[in-house]
Amino acid sequence: MVSERLSENSAANEPVDGAFATALTGVANSSLASRRYTALTQESLPDPNAISLLKQLEPLTSRLARGAINDDAQQILARIGTLPGNYLILVQFMKIKKGSGGTYDPWSGAITSGMSSTLFQAALISPSTGRVVWKNEVLERKAFPVTDPRFSKSVETLYQTLNPGERNR
């Protein structure tokens, strides 16, 4: 998970990042399970080569989650594709922008609206073919606290278009 801030001190927000990651993964897991997918964490994979290769994909998360597979990613995916086991790789990306709120100037009548937004993106990639088998994105014009039910709702919306049949593509 990658979160991006425009102005806040990122060190002070590490526990918040952890909470977002846990919440995002939790909703993603339940959404996948309801579509008969079994989500494995990197650490639970039996092959250390697979773990190492997946770690190499991490810096490319933001591209992969929107379905953009560049040459670097293609090479790593090709190597993962040769490993035993028929896996798909799920990539999730979340970008939260916390901006100033709306303003109103009673003298001129000028108004502005808030700049906050949250972007959720996910893609399911087949390493054996190097192709994106499914992708989706949800953009909310708000920055929800992790405890807000609308956060979970947005992640559920992200996975709504994922069908169990995608695994065979």
Binding site: R63, A110, I111, T112, M115, S117, L119, E137, L139, R141
Partner: protein
């Protein structure tokens, strides 16, 4: 007595004014950094659209013109250039950690300073009026060493309450984007009026008492051709003369002459064409046919 009083009051006025004149600092512009003074011409590559939400229509040509005009007012030679080079499809991430090899492929080969401006987001909203928000970013590369001369992200906000604002809803997004592009370039330092950098002398080899063959002067660089390549379905790989250059749709610059263009996508038959180009812009639309099973 009266005259003395006037003299005294004039004296005290002079005392009051004197310190202000003596100690007031002249408002001086800080000197422009050498990296900005060295710039002879900025090629402004086609504006990039990184928006997830593309509901609002934006005129990118207008934004490019505003950006070029802003730079010219700061005494830079800056022109929009449709030739994005051979770097392929540019992603936001490419700009954050750009490698020298990749930077060298941006824009026309002969260009040294290339500026890329991208639109990250634009959003308009109507409530008791209407508002528009925009976020843009820009990077200025020096292709000689791949360094980033300038980089910035900027916001633009517009809004008006009441019926006037509601009536202007359609223009708010565009207006916010225009504000964002102006804000984006506001920290590029203004160079002195009429300034133009002296061209740098090419390093000359030290030769003493030697007869050296003199090569004829090199011909001027030939004009590049911009190939605007699109595919149906979109996203196919583009190869030029056997080398992958990006995914469709892309604009790729090629040297004059004959080139083999291939557009490939898994599940579809390869689309190939041989082109002989001599300059200008050539549009190619590759309609891919499903491969027979």
């Amino acid at each position: 007595m009266k005259s003395l009083a006037i003299k005294l009051s004039l004296f005290s006025l002079a005392l009051a004014v004197l310190p202000a004149n003596c100690f007031a600092k002249k408002h001086e512009q800080p000197p422009v950094e050498p990296r900005f003074m060295a710039i002879s011409r900025i090629e402004m590559l086609p504006m990039l659209d990184f928006r997830v939400d593309k509901k609002d229509k934006i005129n990118f040509k207008t934004l490019s013109k505003i950006a070029a005009d802003t730079l010219r007012k700061r005494n830079y030679v800056a022109y929009p250039n449709d030739n994005a080079g051979t770097a392929g499809e540019i992603a936001e991430e490419d700009l954050n950690d750009a490698k020298l090899e990749w930077v060298k492929r941006l824009g026309p080969p002969e260009a040294r300073w290339v500026m890329i401006i991208g639109l990250n987001d634009v959003h308009s909203k109507m409530s008791f009026g209407s508002t528009g928000n925009a976020e843009m970013f820009g990077v200025l590369f020096d292709k000689r060493d791949g360094s980033v001369v300038w980089k910035k992200t900027a916001l633009g906000k517009q809004g008006q309450g009441g019926l006037i604002g509601m009536a202007a809803k359609g223009a708010m997004a565009e207006s916010a984007a225009e504000t964002a592009v102006t804000n984006l370039l506001d920290d590029i330092p203004k160079r002195p009026d009429g300034y133009f950098p002296k061209s740098e002398p090419e390093p000359q080899p030290q030769i003493t008492n030697a007869v050296v063959p003199v090569a004829p002067p090199a011909p001027p660089p030939a004009a590049q051709t911009s190939l605007v390549i699109d595919s149906i379905p979109a996203g196919a790989d583009i190869e030029i003369d056997g080398a992958f250059v990006g995914s469709a749709p892309s604009t790729v610059g090629v040297a004059p002459g004959s080139h083999q263009i291939a557009v490939k996508m898994k599940g579809f038959a390869d689309w190939t064409k041989t082109l002989n180009v001599s300059g200008g812009t050539v549009h190619l639309s590759a309609e891919l046919e499903r491969a027979s099973q």
